[in-house]
C-alpha cells in the first residue's frame, strides 16, 4: 500500500515553515522538504518526487494558486495532491481553491500537534478519491 512520506512544504514565512516542519517530522514522521517561494517550489516539485504539497496562498511574486495552476499543467505533477495552508479561509475563498484543484484547505493559524493527522487524513482521502 502507498505510504505518505515526502511532503513539500511551501511557505515564505520562516516561523511557520519551521513549526510546520518540526510537527510533520517529529509528530508525523514524514520527510519534509521546504521551499520559501513559489518559484522554488515549482523547481523542486518538477525535479524531485513528492507525495503531497502543503502550499501557502499569500506569497510575493508567485502566489499559491499560481503555483497550483503550473503544477496542474505538468503531466508529472498533475495528480500530486496539493493542500493549501492559509489564513484566507472565507467560504468563497475556500471554494475557489477547491475549484482550482486543491485537494483540501487547512486554515491558519493551525494547531501544530494536529497538523500531521490532518495532513494524513487529507492524503488518504485524496488517495481514495483516485
Amino acid at each position: 500500500m502507498a505510504e505518505l512520506n515526502r511532503i513539500l512544504l511551501v511557505d515564505d514565512e520562516p516561523d511557520i515553515q519551521e513549526v510546520a516542519r518540526t510537527a510533520l517530522e517529529i509528530v508525523g514522521g514524514f520527510t519534509v522538504i521546504t521551499a520559501g517561494s513559489g518559484e522554488q517550489a515549482l523547481e523542486l516539485a518538477l525535479s524531485e518526487q513528492f507525495d503531497l504539497v502543503l502550499l501557502d496562498v499569500m506569497m510575493p511574486d508567485m502566489d499559491g494558486p499560481q503555483v497550483l495552476a503550473r503544477l496542474k499543467q505538468n503531466a508529472k505533477t498533475r495528480d500530486l495532491p496539493v493542500v493549501f495552508l492559509t489564513a484566507k479561509v472565507q467560504s468563497h475563498e475556500v471554494q475557489e481553491y477547491l475549484r482550482l484543484g486543491a485537494a483540501d484547505v487547512l486554515s491558519k493559524p493551525f494547531d501544530p500537534m494536529a497538523l500531521p493527522a490532518d495532513v494524513r487524513r487529507i492524503w488518504e482521502n485524496a488517495l481514495a478519491a483516485d
Binding site: E13, D15, I16, E18, V19, T22, A23, E25, I26, V27, G28, G29, F30, T31, V32, M58, P60, T86, A87, S107, K108, P109, F110, D111, P112, M113, A114, P116, A117, R120
Partner: protein, 589 residues
C-alpha cells in the same frame, strides 16, 4: 532530514493520538523554543506595522509601504495562535481586513478611520504583551472557527465533599468538570483553558468574599470573557452585589438545586452550539462596516452590511437580524430615524439597536437612546466591547423570544411557535430525506371536566399532560399547545411505527394518572391521538390534515387510543418512501 523507520512508526502512532510521552515531550520542548522565538520577535514586527501604518495615514500615496505592512499583519493573523497568541491572530485578522478596505477605497483615510486603525493597533500591541500559552495548549478562541461545543466546566470550591458531588452530577450530564480548591490553581488553569462556565464558591478558601476577589483578579488579567456562576450560602444584597461586580452570570444559593443549576449551565453552553447570532450593520463608511463585520464574524456572529437606508426594510425582512448596529449619521438620514421606523413596525418593535458614532456629545447620546436605541458605542470601537455588547443584547432578546413562544399555562410551545417549527421541520426533513412524524392529541371529554370540577382543575389536567410529554419524549421531539385541549407533537427522524409506540406509551401512562378535584375526590382523564408521517405526505398542510383525520378516527373508534393515518401506515408496511397515498380516504373507525 530522514528518519529511521522505527522512529516513523512511533511518530505515525503519535499522529493517530496514541502518543508515547517521550516523543511528545521532545516535540513540545522544540515548540516552546519556537514559541519563545516568535514571542521575542513580536515587538519588532509590531513596530514595523505601526511605522507602516503611520506612513500610510500621513501619505496615502505610499502604497508599497502599506502593502508590506499588510503582509506583516497577514502573517501575524495566520501565525499568532500557532505560537500561543490567539488574540494576536484575532486582532491582526481584523486589522488586516480594515487595512485592505482602506487600501481599496478611493478617498483619503478619514480621521475616524485612522482612529479605528490605531485602536486596533493598540489591541494588537496589548495582546502581544501577554505571555504566550504553553506549547501543550492550542486555542483559537476568539480567532473564529469555534465549532466545537465547549463542555468544560470548572468548579472552584474549597469544600471537597460538595465539589465532588457537583462534579459527579455535571459529569453525569455529559460535562467535563474539573475541581479547584483555591484561587491560585483556578487562575493557572484559566490561563490554559477557557471553560464554558466557572462555578465558584462566593467564600472560596474560607474567606468572606474569596470567590469574588478571585474572579475580579482573573477578569483584570484575562483576555477571555469568563462566565462566572456564583454559589453562595449568603442570600443578602451585599453578597449578590459583590458577585455582580465580579461579573457573575448567575447566583445560586446553597444547598444547590442541581436541576436549576444545570439549566443555567445549559443556557451558557448553548450560546456556543445554537444558531449563530445575526447582526445587521448599517454604516455608510465601507471600511468601518467591514471592520465591524470582521470583528463580529471572528466571534462567530453572522453579519450583513448595508451602506444606505434605501433597502433597509427589505434587508431586515430577508436577513432577519437579531440586532442592528446603526451608524448615527447615514448621509441625509439619521440612524435614530431608522431605529424609530423599526420601533413602529409590527414584528420589529423588539429588535435591539446599538448606535455607532463618533459623537461624544452626551446630549445626542441620550436623545438617541430615547429614540429606540439600546446602547451606544463610541468610535473608535474596541472590538471586545463590540462583541460583548452584541452578545449580551442578542442573548437577552433570545431569552425574551423564548418566553414569548411559551404557552403561559403549560410551559410548552404556544400555537404560533409550534406551527413555526412544523414549517421549519417539514422543510428540513424533506431536504435531508428524513422521516417526520406528527401527532395531534386531544383530551377526551375535557368540557365535562371543566364543567364538573371548574377551570382551575381543568388547567391542572392540561399542565399535567404538558409536563408528562416533556418528560417522556426525547429532547429532539417538540411539543406545543395547538388549541384549547389539543396538543401537537413533532417527532423528527421517526417513522410512524416508532411514533405510535411512543405516543401510545404516553397515552397509557396519562390514563393512569389520578387528578384531584377541589373536593379532594380523584378522577382520571384520557386522550386520543392521530398520527401521520412524512413521507408519504409531502407538505405541512397534508400532514396536519392527515393527523387531524386520524385523530377524528380515534375519537370515532371509542377514544383513549392512538390511530394512524392510513396512507402513512400503508407506506410504512410496504416500505414505500413516496408521496403516493393510494389508500387515502380509508378509515379504521
Amino acid at each position: 532530514m530522514r528518519k529511521l523507520n522505527f522512529a516513523r512508526l512511533i511518530a505515525q502512532a503519535l499522529a493517530r493520538q496514541m502518543v508515547p510521552a517521550t516523543n511528545t515531550d521532545a516535540f513540545l520542548q522544540q515548540m516552546d523554543a519556537l514559541r519563545q522565538r516568535f514571542n521575542d520577535g513580536l515587538p519588532d514586527k509590531l513596530s514595523q506595522v505601526r511605522r507602516g501604518w503611520e506612513a500610510f495615514a500621513n501619505n496615502h500615496q505610499d502604497e508599497a509601504a502599506v502593502r508590506e505592512t499588510l503582509q506583516v499583519v497577514h502573517r501575524l493573523a495566520g501565525s499568532g495562535a500557532t505560537f500561543g497568541h490567539p488574540q494576536v491572530s484575532r486582532f491582526a485578522k481584523i486589522l488586516e481586513g480594515l487595512l485592505e478596505a482602506l487600501l481599496g477605497q478611493a478617498s483619503a483615510v478619514t480621521d475616524r478611520q485612522a482612529a479605528q486603525a490605531r485602536e486596533l493597533l493598540e489591541c494588537l500591541e496589548r495582546a502581544a504583551a501577554v505571555p504566550p500559552l504553553p506549547a501543550r495548549s492550542f486555542s483559537l478562541t476568539g480567532a473564529g472557527d469555534e465549532h466545537a461545543v465547549n463542555r468544560d466546566i470548572f468548579i472552584a470550591e474549597s469544600d471537597p465533599a460538595s465539589a465532588r458531588e457537583l462534579k459527579e452530577q455535571l459529569d453525569n450530564f455529559g460535562y467535563s468538570a474539573r475541581v479547584f480548591s483555591d484561587a491560585a490553581t483556578l487562575d493557572q488553569a484559566l490561563q490554559e483553558t477557557v471553560p464554558a462556565a466557572v462555578l465558584i464558591d462566593l467564600e472560596l478558601g474560607g474567606e468572606a468574599f474569596g470567590g469574588v476577589y478571585a474572579a475580579i483578579r482573573v477578569n483584570a488579567r484575562a483576555e477571555q470573557h469568563v462566565q462566572w456562576i456564583f454559589l453562595s450560602r449568603r442570600d443578602d444584597l451585599e453578597a449578590r452585589l459583590k458577585a455582580i461586580h465580579a461579573g457573575s452570570r448567575a447566583f445560586f444559593l446553597k444547598p444547590l438545586r442541581i436541576a436549576d443549576l444545570l439549566k443555567q449551565v445549559e443556557t451558557l453552553t448553548e450560546t456556543e452550539q445554537s444558531e449563530p447570532y445575526r447582526v445587521l450593520i448599517v454604516e455608510d463608511d465601507a471600511a468601518m462596516a467591514h471592520f465591524a463585520a470582521m470583528t463580529l464574524e471572528q466571534a462567530r456572529i453572522k453579519t450583513a452590511c448595508l451602506d444606505s437606508p434605501a433597502t433597509f426594510l427589505d434587508v431586515v425582512s430577508d436577513f432577519k437580524p437579531e440586532l442592528v448596529l446603526m451608524d448615527l449619521y447615514l448621509g441625509s438620514t439619521l440612524g435614530t430615524d431608522l431605529a424609530q421606523v423599526l420601533e413602529q413596525h409590527d414584528g420589529y418593535d423588539n429588535l435591539p439597536v446599538i448606535y455607532l458614532s463618533g459623537e461624544d456629545d452626551k446630549g445626542i447620546h441620550f436623545d438617541a437612546l430615547d429614540k429606540g436605541g439600546d446602547n451606544f458605542l463610541q468610535k473608535p470601537i474596541n472590538p471586545q466591547h463590540l462583541v460583548q455588547a452584541v452578545h449580551s443584547r442578542v442573548r437577552r432578546a433570545r431569552q425574551l423570544a423564548e418566553l414569548v413562544h411559551r404557552d403561559g399555562l403549560t410551559g410548552i410551545m404556544n400555537h404560533r411557535a409550534i406551527m413555526g417549527r412544523v414549517t421549519e421541520l417539514v422543510k428540513r426533513c424533506i431536504r435531508h430525506k428524513h422521516a417526520l412524524s406528527l401527532a395531534m392529541l386531544d383530551i377526551d371529554f375535557f368540557k365535562p371536566v371543566n364543567d364538573t370540577h371548574g377551570h382551575a382543575v381543568g388547567d391542572r389536567v392540561l399542565q399535567a399532560l404538558g409536563r408528562m410529554m416533556q418528560q417522556r419524549l426525547r429532547e429532539s421531539d417538540l411539543v406545543g399547545r395547538y388549541g384549547g385541549e389539543e396538543f401537537l407533537v413533532l417527532l423528527p427522524e421517526t417513522g410512524i411505527e416508532n411514533a405510535r409506540q411512543v405516543i401510545d406509551e404516553v397515552r397509557d401512562r396519562f390514563a393512569k394518572v389520578k387528578h384531584t378535584a377541589q373536593d379532594g375526590s380523584e378522577f382520571m382523564v384520557t386522550f386520543s391521538a392521530g398520527l401521520a408521517c412524512l413521507p408519504p405526505h409531502s407538505s405541512q398542510e397534508e400532514l396536519l390534515l392527515a393527523a387531524d383525520e386520524a385523530l377524528y378516527a380515534a375519537k370515532h373508534a371509542g377514544r383513549n387510543q392512538v390511530s394512524c393515518d392510513p396512507a402513512s401506515d400503508a407506506a410504512a408496511q410496504q416500505g414505500i418512501v413516496s408521496g403516493e397515498g393510494s389508500l387515502l380516504g380509508g378509515s379504521d373507525g
